[in-house]
């Protein structure tokens, strides 16, 4: 039965316009009603740590602004005119037509229209991302599969040893995607691999997508998003893949992840261990230096953790908080609302990450309900708590005297640029942000550490 979502943690499938914008010099061409595209941008641009429009995002996105006219007569003609115009005035390497609900209901064939209007050196592909097909996680999947199908296409792979593709974080929906992809690339490059991260400043734009068939291995770094794309590549290009459902955060998870990748590629063990040892040594020095703070503020340290996140980041956080910071994850509210089989993958990943973690899973996309549940649990348990939440949870954190770290969308009172919480480097930043929360006003009593204590 339908219900009203008060505070949605995701948008609709058309949100995949931000996926397109994550590829350098790629333009989304929207075939939808007025407002659809700008709302997606508002939610995942300013609402995701003020990430900016990008090369052709925000108000620059071409849109058919479909109305009743297109509902009655079909919108393919208008879409064709829009594509032609976009090709003329927007200098780009790839144009991706995304159809919204109107086009989906009327039955416009966006794939064919896109194909008909492609020009020499100006590839155009079409994807049906009607909102009723699912949320923007589903939209992201639809777009990456369409890119492989229509843009990369059928190709005889010329496999290059040591080349890997990574299917992982979702641009903009995950506020720290740029920093995260940097860290993923840094880690895998450190092993000696050549890496197509496919999105962000450090990808080679569309050239990385064209290079997809040549990879020796695909790495799916998420419980479910990206898995179908890897399967598609296996079918089309015979590229094997490894599925890493736990996003590596911290020493244990990151080292284990790197070892599994190295094993899958039969890499030289000594060289891999050298790199890991170097990274671990650095990490450990920082981690150990935290010891004094832990002993000084032992009675103020958070013990319970509440994670409000999508599957990808949430499973990684649950793993890290449990294994490296010794916290007790009370509830992991997963907001990307996976289907039944994807939910099973998330449960499996949680079970593998730690005993009892699967039981903490609550699938809920409405932050208002999530917040109420957390408040109730904190009141009942009376433990010092950490909330990995968003700007919507500020009041809750203040009322319950909990530490709040902005972990997922929306982030409207913090600027996010290159920050990452994953890998070795990111975990240290996450630790900094968690324990900095101890010194928030009102958190510590009877000491001189509170920020409002005048000396």
């Amino acid at each position: 039965m339908g219900r009203i979502v008060q505070e949605a943690k995701y948008t609709c499938a058309l949100g995949a316009q931000q996926t397109v914008l994550g590829i350098e010099r790629a333009v989304p061409v929207i075939h939808a009603g007025p407002g659809c595209s700008s709302r997606q941008f508002a939610y995942m641009g300013p609402g995701s740590g003020y990430q900016g429009e990008g090369y052709t995002g925000g108000g620059q996105i071409p849109c058919t602004n479909s109305s009743q006219n297109e509902v009655v007569f079909g919108g393919e003609k208008k879409l064709g005119q829009l594509i032609d115009a976009a090709l003329q005035v927007m200098d780009a390497d790839l144009y991706v037509v995304l159809a919204g609900c109107t086009a989906g209901i009327v039955g416009d064939d966006v794939k064919q229209t896109a194909r008909n209007h492609a020009a020499e050196g100006k590839p155009v592909i079409g994807v049906d991302t009607a909102g009723f097909r699912g949320n923007n996680y589903v939209g992201h999947e639809l777009v990456i599969e369409a890119l492989i199908d229509q843009y990369v296409g059928d190709r005889e792979p010329e496999v290059r040893k040591g080349l890997v593709n990574v299917f992982s974080v979702i641009p903009y929906q995950n506020p720290r995607w740029r920093g995260d992809l940097h860290e993923i690339k840094r880690l895998l490059t450190g092993l000696g691999l050549e890496v197509n991260v496919l999105f962000g400043y450090e990808s080679g734009g569309v050239s990385e997508w064209q290079d997809i068939p040549n990879a020796e291995l695909n790495i799916v770094l998420s419980p479910w998003v990206g898995l179908d794309a890897a399967k598609l590549c296996e079918k089309k290009y015979q590229t094997p893949y490894i599925h890493e459902p736990v996003l590596p955060i911290g020493l244990k998870a990151t080292s284990a992840f790197l070892r599994r990748v190295a094993a899958a590629l039969h890499m030289d063990e000594a060289a891999v261990e050298d790199f890991i040892a170097q990274e671990e040594a650095r990490y450990k020095k920082y981690f150990v230096s935290l010891g004094d703070l832990f002993s000084d503020f032992a009675s103020y340290l958070p013990y319970d953790a509440y994670i409000v996140s999508d599957a990808e980041y949430g499973v990684g956080a649950a793993d890290f908080l449990t294994k490296e910071l010794g916290m007790n994850v009370v509830s992991f509210y997963e907001f990307d609302e996976p289907d039944a089989s994807a939910k099973q993958l998330v449960e499996q990943a949680l079970s593998a990450a730690g005993e009892g973690l699967a039981q903490t899973l609550v699938v809920e996309g409405d932050n208002a309900l999530i917040r109420a549940d957390i408040a109730e649990k904190i009141a009942e348990r009376k433990n010092k708590s950490l909330i990995l939440g968003s700007s919507w949870d500020k009041e809750l954190a203040e009322q319950t005297n909990s530490i709040l770290v902005y972990y997922g969308i929306p982030i409207t009172d913090q600027v996010v640029l290159s920050k990452t919480y994953i890998g070795y480097a990111g975990a240290l930043t996450l630790i900094e942000d968690i324990y900095t929360g101890l010194f928030r006003k009102g958190m510590i009593t009877n000491t001189t550490h509170g920020e409002d204590d005048a000396i």
Binding site: Q68, N69, V71, V72, F73
Partner: protein, 126 residues
Amino acid sequence: MSDKTVKAAVATSDGIHCDLHFGAAKNVTVYVLEDGSGNFRIEGQRAFPDTSGYEGCGGGCHARNEEFLQEVCQILRDCQYLLVVKIGPFPSRILLRSGIEVLEQEGEVRELLSVLYDYINRNRDK
């Protein structure tokens, strides 16, 4: 007239094609789409008000003059649709407020009305 009868006004210069912009139309031809039959008949022409009586914008266009547009709405008050080649968002909004849906199309009136008729029929029971 059955309550399911739909009227569509078309900006046409020759009675065969929808070929005029809203601003260029001096009159429209009103067609009646009969329920169930798939046929339509011409009800007649209706003249738009003489634009010389209204102040236009710098370019002489009256499509932003609300008084003029209210007159048009009055003239088309029993029509559900207006088909023109092009129209600006402002007059389109004013007409919509009076319950007149404006559709931008160019081509043979017969074909356009046939598509419109199909659409109306498909959505009749929804």
